[in-house]
Amino acid sequence: MNDITNILLVGVGGQGILLASEILAEAFMLAGFDVKKSEIHGMSQRGGSVVSHVRFGHEVPSPTVPEGEGDILFGFELLETYRYLSLLRPGAKVVANDYRIAPPSVLLGQNSYPEDLPARIRKRFPDFLLVDGIALAQEAGDVRAANTALLGAVSRRLQIDAEIWQQALTNMVPAKVLAINRKAFALGSAL
């Protein structure tokens, strides 16, 4: 089971993490791998902290990534990226959106949003890419495509052919927003 790659997607409910993980899983299936995926819906998606697990390989047992064995952390928000670093193995890759969403205690002025998170993440995980997903999505034509822009950046770190990514986007993204998402994905994968 050493050939399994463990990916964690983390962020805040409502950021499009579910769709990004669906596209990832679809791409791995199209590439001929066994795939499993797990996440939580419901209460935790009302603006709460969200973690989605995607695993692929020859044969995947558990749908959740064993703690401390994450290979890639794909963070949609900086605080959540930092929060879940402990799920990773040493030397794992981190791709994070350069974006902050204040949690309730920060909104109320009771806490401050932690400072210098990118530098602190890089110190622990040198293979770190910080992406301005919102800017890429705006360039693609819709701020809501930030998730696919980030996915493009992550795609460069996975050994999957470009045509398979395109097919996965076609299969999983609603047709009316496919063109914008393709563009966002291309902008992300050019980084």
């Binding site: 089971m1 805040v12 409910g13 669906e22 899983a25 679809e26 299936m29 066994d34 795939v35 499993k36 995926k37 797990s38 996440e39 939580i40 819906h41 419901g42 209460m43 935790s44 998606q45 009302r46 603006g47 709460g48 902290s49 995947v60 047992p61 558990s62 749908p63 959740t64 990534v65 064993p66 703690e67 401390g68 064995e69 605080l79 959540e80 930092y82 929060r83 670093l85 402990s86 799920l87 990773l88 193995r89 040493p90 204040a102 949690p103 309730p104 205690s105 920060v106 909104l107 109320l108 002025g109 806490n111 401050s112 949003y113 932690p114 622990r124 701020v143």
Partner: protein, 590 residues
């Protein structure tokens, strides 16, 4: 064969389709909701939402009695509501196959308790299957219908959050054909459960469990995987995959049917391994039965009773059992405490104005199950109890009976539209009937919001999206006997406060209905956001009045010295509800 990545819930829906199901009924509940939302995509199946789980199961029972295959789906606590028909259904048995899907929620990701539904199978004397991934969700659903008809029994299919909301690869099959056509058959001795008939049925129920115990040893869903003889693990469901991950050399008896247990197979497996463990989430359900068979076994002395398992938690448990080395130290967690990120009501949520008002009026709020349960969180702090669906009203009715009059007036029960129709109606009938002087607020946001915006009998649409009669909540409350029923716009703080003050002071039963739709409803005919607001930094004095709403769109920006600051509205998040503007004494919000 077409391959597809399906969630467990999608796969159960597919399995129901392939099994030739004609009728599907459910009440939404995480993590089970998406089963019906996927079944509705198959036009061959009559799929619909019921007002509660008892009704859902009874609809399925009716379809089964008519000779069709039927499925009812619910979360674990829903079975508590459906338990009454379930236990007698065990006696009647079925005509068309009947499957009750129950989705448990170990870890309580979105639930008020983590009861282990396997106990229901034993309690009601029914077979229960437990799939370990999406492929098994589909296959076991099909098998459950075959067992149901072969053994004349309802069959429970148990999922859990990690199965229902996990995804894996499934090969799709065709829908079965050639099932008997439904028709009416008179069979009172089987279907009319009066004492004389039920006494005849009960021994058949006991014999059925004996027969299924023997049959289980022949089913290929109960399988031995012999590897090392040193350790043997009995497990089922998603836990099987954790065991394979953490203890790959162990022999495994993987149970697909978790009740009744295949005794012969368990004895054979136990004889072939030196040390036997049962690894299961929640209760020692299998372990106690294996021990009662006189077999030496361990399990819960190492494996937690509370919460879900994971590969890491299982590794820690197995380290306690001396079977693996202790887990490697994970990357050190962050040294400093990070601000938590709990769920919150959405920006523009119509519940916020009502909870703000209840907070200001120092109300004691008996609450209920829904998004609005989040009203307990700071800074609103406006919910004081939450037990189960419908309890807001009856808890209010009970609590005022023991309080002095000045405290009675503080009590307000708060319940959503869907929850009110689920089991709140009976409670309001009780409150009106017994003339209990308290006030109930029905938060009518025109949708079942928490589980992801399902239609319900107040929303005007069915699961299939067809137009439907709408329950008029005010009329319903009046015919239940409540004389004082008022409707108010919860985004109008002045009006809401006036109505609540008047009704809380009234020494009679009363109902207040808030009438703003959920801001997540996508249909512009039913909800449209207002223009986003912004705060003029020149006019903002930093008084923090708007922060008392706890709206995710309003952020406090402290000055560099940290002493003063100003509020800011994130225009990407703001839904333009205007509640914060009503709180600003300095006209800074526009």
């Amino acid at each position: 064969m077409t391959k597809s990545i399906l969630s467990g819930n999608e796969a159960i829906a597919r399995g129901a389709f392939e099994a030739g199901v004609l009728v599907a009924s459910a009440y939404p509940g995480t993590p089970s909701t998406e089963i019906l939302e996927n079944i509705v995509r198959y036009p061959e199946i009559d799929a619909s939402w019921a007002p509660n789980e008892k009704v859902a199961l009874e609809v399925a029972i009716g379809a089964s009695f008519g000779g069709g295959r039927a499925i009812a789906c619910m979360k674990h606590v829903g079975v508590n509501v459906a338990a009454d028909p379930l236990f007698t259904l065990s006696y009647t048995g079925v005509r068309g196959g009947l499957v009750l899907v129950v989705a448990d929620d170990p870890e309580m990701h979105s639930s008020q308790n983590e009861q282990d539904s396997r106990n229901y199978a034993k309690f009601a004397k029914l077979p229960m299957l437990e799939p370990a991934d999406s492929r098994e969700c589909k296959d076991f659903t099909r098998l459950a219908f075959e067992l149901s008809e072969q053994f004349d029994t309802p069959v429970m299919l148990r999922s859990c959050t990690r199965i229902s909301h996990g995804k894996s690869i499934v090969e799709l099959g065709e829908r079965v054909t050639g099932l008997p056509a439904p028709k009416l058959v008179k069979d009172a001795a089987k279907l009319v459960m009066l004492p004389g008939n039920a006494r005849v049925r009960h021994p058949l129920v006991e014999q059925r469990i004996t027969d299924l115990t023997a049959h289980g040893a022949t089913l290929d869903i109960n399988r031995m995987e012999m590897r090392s003889a040193k350790v043997g693990v009995i497990c089922a469901g998603v836990v099987y995959h954790y065991v394979r991950e953490v203890l790959p050399e162990a022999s495994v008896l993987k149970l697909g049917m978790v009740y009744p247990l295949p005794h012969a197979l368990i004895r054979e497996f136990a004889a072939r391994v030196e040390r036997l463990l049962v690894i299961e989430e929640l209760d020692p359900f299998i372990e106690e039965q294996v021990r009662a068979m006189g077999i030496a076994v361990s399990g819960k002395e190492f494996v937690p009773l509370c919460g879900e398992l994971s590969p890491g938690r299982l590794r820690a448990a197995l380290a306690r059992a001396g079977l693996v080395t202790a887990p490697p130290p994970a990357e050190a967690p962050a040294a400093e405490p990070l601000p938590p990120r709990p769920p919150n009501m959405c920006p523009g949520c119509p519940h916020r104005g009502l909870f703000y008002t209840l907070n200001r009026l120092n109300a004691y709020v008996t609450g209920d199950i829904g998004c609005y349960t989040l009203g307990f969180m700071p800074p609103l702090n406006a919910m004081d109890t939450c037990v189960c669906m419908g309890a807001a009203i009856s808890n209010a009715s009970g609590i005022v009976r023991v309080l002095p009059p000045e405290e009675q007036r503080r009590v307000v029960g708060v319940i959503g539209d869907s929850t009110f129709l689920h089991t709140g109606v009976n409670s309001l009938m009780e409150m009106a009937y017994n003339k209990v002087p308290t006030t109930i607020v029905i938060l009518d946001n025109r949708i079942t919001a928490m589980t992801g915006r399902q239609e319900n009998p107040t929303s005007g649409f069915t699961l299939k999206g067809e137009e439907a009669p709408q329950v008029d909540l005010a009329d319903l409350c009046r015919v239940l006997g409540v004389k004082h029923v008022r409707t108010v716009d919860p985004n109008d703080l002045t009006a809401t406060r006036k109505v609540m003050e008047e009704e809380m002071a009234r020494p009679e039963p009363s109902v207040v209905i808030t009438n703003r739709p959920c801001c997540l409803i996508k249909d512009p005919a039913r909800f449209t956001p207002g223009p986003p607001l912004s705060i003029d930094p020149a006019a903002c004095t930093g008084c923090k009045a708007c922060l008392r709403l706890g709206c995710p769109a309003i952020e406090w920006l402290p000055d560099p010295d940290g002493k003063k600051g100003k509020a800011r509205i994130d225009s990407l998040l703001c839904n333009g509800c205007t509640v914060c503007r009503q709180l600003c004494k300095f006209d800074a919000i526009n």
